[in-house]
């Protein structure tokens, strides 16, 4: 056939995803609006063109996604077994982070497991349900931030766009309690993939706290390819928490986008604990003056875990400030990557940005690549960045031991101390306490961290 000869030839893994896409699309509701179909088709087309990134590409220089590319993932079933659901209780460390909680199993909304939905003008709904009933309310916001040149995973997420969470907070509404979005993977026997999408719209002078948790049963093999897009209208305040606790054999790719209007405050706390291979891209843009952006991050890697975080902060407007603090702890043969880019565009005067990345190496074979990058194209700005990577301070260890504290306990205490400032900045008490306990279990020696905290 002549058409076949003219068609571009894609690598086998891309062809596999195309087949998966065709079968997925065939099962979608027929009455979907044209723009939504186009969004998926564009996403699939972009993914076909891009393929999976290679380490020859600058943004992926330190992370090979070959294990993802070569695995044949199926779409996940929409049901979970009782055993899978047991995982649900452990994802929040056995503490309820929030009374309002939407649970997604394999990317699909699970109403029976969820509690507290829309009320008082606040939309807290499944994206699928909104797309079915009122697609026009999400159309102006969906995929306005995540897509972009070279973003193959975001493109793949758009291609498989189906369900997720939609939160919209009307102007002036202050949500005092956090909202918890739980993404549980329950793959069964075959590797599966889910592509959840989170869409948050915070109206003028509204406030919200959102926690996203990701996890699955121990040793399950699956891919979570999540995209979150957050829009902050003028004066809005959003605290965003992201807790990645995927199974030890899972793959996790996340994209978090935030666009900040005038005089907004956006705080992101990203905690990465799980997955064999994980990558998080945080892309933030100041679209109005006087915004404040706080990026806190902690990754804790052991065994052969590979954890990569890229952050982009775009000072496109003057009088905005960024405070970024990322810390990594790696043990065993784990590898961490931090690439943090702050761009100060021409005219973004009075920008005040501080970026700090600190990494702690606990073993001889663990490794972290840290690349802080400041690109400053305005002249009246205060910007600085710093990066340190090293082992526990031998003199501090000796100091503790010289007081009678055993070596293991001293190591644990210093490791905890290293992470403590990121942990202490977590404003959701249940999350902070749960994470503290988790750290305590993962640390090498006996130490009661709750008491140690300043």
């Amino acid at each position: 056939m002549t058409t076949a000869a003219q068609a571009p030839t894609f690598p086998a893994e891309v062809v596999r995803w195309r087949e998966e896409f065709d079968s997925f699309r065939a099962g979608l509701p027929r009455e979907e609006p044209e723009w939504l179909r186009a969004l998926r088709t564009t996403g699939m087309g972009a993914f076909e063109e891009l393929g999976f990134p290679t380490t020859r590409q600058e943004d992926w220089r330190h992370t090979s996604v070959a294990p993802i590319a070569r695995t044949s993932f199926r779409r996940a079933p929409t049901t979970a077994s009782v055993a899978d659901l047991a995982v649900l209780g452990s994802l929040d460390f056995g503490r309820a982070f929030a009374r309002r909680q939407l649970v997604f199993v394999n990317g699909r909304y699970a109403p029976d497991l969820s509690s507290g939905t829309s009320a008082d003008g606040v939309h807290l709904r499944s994206l699928r349900e909104v797309l079915d009933r009122e697609p026009q309310i999400v159309q102006p916001h969906l995929d306005r931030q995540a897509s972009g040149p070279g973003r193959c995973f975001a493109a793949l997420n758009s291609a498989f766009l189906d369900d997720g969470a939609f939160l919209s907070v009307p102007a002036g509404t202050v949500l005092t309690e956090p909202i918890h979005l739980v993404f549980l993977s329950a793959p069964g026997s075959q590797p599966t993939a889910s592509h959840p999408r989170v869409l948050v719209w915070a109206g003028r002078k509204s406030q919200a706290t959102i926690i996203e948790s990701y996890g699955g049963p121990a040793d399950a093999v699956y891919l979570t390819n999540a995209v979150s897009e957050i829009t902050l209208e003028d004066g809005a305040v959003v605290d965003h928490y992201r807790l990645q606790r995927e199974s030890a054999r899972a793959f996790h790719v996340g994209t978090l986008c935030a666009t900040q209007g005038r005089a907004t405050r956006f705080a992101s706390h990203a905690i990465s604990l799980g997955a064999s291979l994980s990558r998080l891209d945080i892309r933030q843009v100041f679209a109005g003056e006087g915004g404040e952006c706080v990026l806190n991050g902690l990754f804790l890697g052991g065994d052969r875990q590979h954890m990569d975080t890229h952050t982009w902060v775009d000072h496109a407007q003057p009088h905005c400030s960024t405070r970024e603090l990322y810390k990594g702890i790696v043990d065993d043969q784990a590898r961490g990557v931090f690439v943090g880019r702050i761009l100060v565009r021409p005219g973004a005067q009075k920008t005040d940005a501080i970026q700090t990345n600190k990494n702690l190496i606990l073993s001889r074979e663990a490794l972290v690549d840290s690349l802080p990058q400041l690109e400053i194209l305005a002249d009246d700005v205060k910007c600085k960045h710093g990066s340190t990577t090293g082992q526990l301070d031998p003199l501090a260890l000796f100091y503790l031991r010289s007081r009678g504290i055993g070596e293991d306990a001293a190591r644990a205490l210093l490791t905890y101390a290293f992470a403590s400032d990121v942990v202490q900045r977590i404003g959701v008490e249940a999350l902070r306490a749960g994470l503290t306990e988790h750290l305590q279990r993962r640390l090498p020696g006996p130490v009661d961290i709750k008491e140690a905290a300043v």
């Binding site: 301070d393 031998p394 003199l395 501090a396 000796f398 100091y399 503790l400 031991r401 010289s402 007081r403 009678g404 504290i405 055993g406 070596e407 306990a409 001293a410 205490l413 210093l414 905890y416 101390a417 290293f418 992470a419 403590s420 400032d421 202490q424 130490v447 009661d448 008491e451 140690a452 905290a453 300043v454």
Partner: protein, 251 residues
């Protein structure tokens, strides 16, 4: 209490201690003086068991036990305390937790019951008076943001809480103004007791005006070249160290 025989030690391959002999009985305060680089601080750290400070020859008995065979934490639990010249800052860990962990590790070793938070706080309040340390410092992260004087006071405060049998004070006077020095010295004097031995490592005689030693030793080029009463310190103050030539064959 402490008996050092022909102690040789190297740091980074350089021999710093070249045959130290020293005996400190319980109840006495011994000052070790010497110029910069004579090995005073090395001796203090070797006694506390600092990793990387390698003992190449000699023996140290502490309460009749082989001190050098013990880990730093074992030494501390057995009652050895080193007040650091440069106390380490540990952000994220409160002073009080750090001390409680230390105190309970020592108590456990001695077969005493561990102190709970309430009992420990009572102990802390009592001992805080020794060096007039502000209680707010006790709740702050270990040494973080402390002034030089506050750090030194914190060392003596820790010593008061941990109640050692052998206290080694490394340049406790350095960086202190006269008021701070008085307070720290008064704290140390309160902790003198017939059961406790103290070793003061100092460059200057000034500290010994406030903490009067029983014996003064001069360490030069890794050996103790002279020992005497407290008058020896005054003589050193007047004449410097030059008149005490290192003994022949020391190099």
């Amino acid at each position: 209490m402490l008996d050092i025989q022909n102690l040789h030690a190297s740091v980074g391959g350089n021999e710093i201690l070249r045959g130290v002999n020293l005996s400190v009985p319980a109840g006495e305060v011994h000052a070790i003086m010497g110029p910069n680089g004579s090995g005073k601080s090395t001796l203090a750290h070797v006694l506390a068991g600092r990793p990387g400070y390698e003992v190449t020859k000699g023996e140290v008995r502490y309460k009749g036990k082989d001190l050098l065979a013990m880990s730093p934490e074992e030494r501390a639990r057995e009652g050895v305390f080193l007040a650091f010249q440069y106390p380490v800052e540990i952000s994220g860990v409160s002073n009080v937790y750090f001390l409680k962990a230390a105190a309970n590790a020592i108590r456990k070793h001695r077969g005493q019951p561990e102190l709970d938070a309430i009992d420990f706080l009572a102990l802390v309040k009592e001992k805080a008076k020794v060096v007039a340390i502000d209680e707010s410092l006790i709740k702050r992260p270990v040494n973080e943001g402390f002034s030089g004087g506050e750090k030194k006071r914190n060392e003596i405060f820790q010593m008061a809480v941990l109640d050692p049998a052998l206290a080694i004070l490394d340049e406790t006077d350095s960086g202190l103004d006269i008021d701070a020095l008085r307070i720290v010295a008064a704290g140390v004097n309160q902790l003198r007791s017939p059961e406790r031995a103290m070793v003061l490592v100092t460059h200057y005689q000034r500290l010994l005006d406030y903490i009067v030693p029983d014996v003064v030793h001069v360490l030069l080029d890794g050996r103790i070249v002279r020992s005497g009463g407290k008058d020896l310190a005054l003589e050193l103050e007047k004449k410097g160290y030059e008149w005490l030539e290192a003994p022949a064959g020391s190099r």
